[in-house]
Point group: C2
Chain length 185, copies 2
């Protein structure tokens, strides 16, 4: 029985991040997440989702893209990959365990799993591009059921939420994914 599994990011991602190390505004942070989602579609390295963890100096800590199909792993959503890589990079299971503030920018509203994952990752801010309803309207991806007051539940746990950042650009990723005949699993 396997004792160890490996999760990897596509090679083009490291290349992109070499030139994109800082994003000052919330819009720019989500713009980077959307651009990773787009690249992931174009490069056929996974589903149409991207996410980036930033530190409080607006620097990229780690990024993730959806890798469900290439890795045979239903957990490998963009947000989860970004959290896992950021935590590994910082050497702790709670990003803000150092008392500093961390932000996740994501190209689309987290699904039910990534929503829960966002509670435990140690982020202070969640920046979202497309809405869950956009994802379900423009693709066949299921977002899953959330608590009725999902934003309030995050805010009660001291995670600020900003939605609809570059929403139109974020929606376009799903149209591109369709053109590339991506399979929604």
């Amino acid at each position: 029985m396997t004792q160890s599994i490996q999760l990897d990011l596509p090679e083009w991602l490291a290349e992109t991040l070499r030139t994109q190390r800082t994003c000052i505004s919330d819009e720019d942070k989500v713009r980077l997440a959307i651009s990773l989602a787009n690249q992931n579609v174009i490069q056929r390295s996974g589903g149409p989702f991207g996410a980036v963890v930033f530190d409080e100096d607006d620097r990229v800590v780690a990024a993730g893209v959806n890798r469900v199909v290439p890795l045979n792993c239903s957990t490998a959503h963009a947000e989860m990959m970004a959290f896992m890589f950021a935590q590994r990079h910082l050497g702790r299971f709670r990003l803000n365990g150092d008392g500093r503030r961390y932000t996740l920018a994501t190209s689309a509203q987290p699904c039910a799993m990534c929503y829960g994952g966002s509670l435990w990752a140690g982020i202070d801010r969640l920046l979202i591009g497309a809405r869950g309803s956009d994802v379900e309207e423009l693709s066949e991806f299921d977002e899953g059921p959330l608590p009725a007051d999902w934003v309030g539940e995050l805010e009660r746990r001291k995670i600020d939420v900003r939605r609809d950042l570059l929403r139109d650009q974020a929606r376009e990723v799903f149209l591109r994914y369709r053109e590339h005949a991506g399979v929604a699993y």
Copy 2:
């Protein structure tokens, strides 16, 4: 920037599974999950949670235990580890993609993240030991917010849920964890 991370299970787990390959009844399936949770506490290899994926012939496909602290990974809950290892073992991101039925047995009610993860993993049955309220009563772990009708939402997605299996034994794991002075993160 790291391009690849590794997630591993403790060595004692493979040893335990060498002699425990089949669990016929639902109770026996949850008993195995509880026993892994207990072992994880005793061996100090992670938090007090265990989970096992079974195929429709009641054979273990893969198992997981909580590895959040040792792996610096807030995603490494028992259920998520079991799903990831089972999917890697079977070579597909949806366990029941082969048209057969799969079951997850877990020592305690899935938290908000693992709840969402259970929707995407490709299971047909979810067997649960301790309740979420037990976890929160007996430990400092937060289960996170679930949709009001979380069982119904699973059942609408064709995932049968059985709760309170060996609940008393499942509750005892948290008492043992306390004795071992485990840190709830």
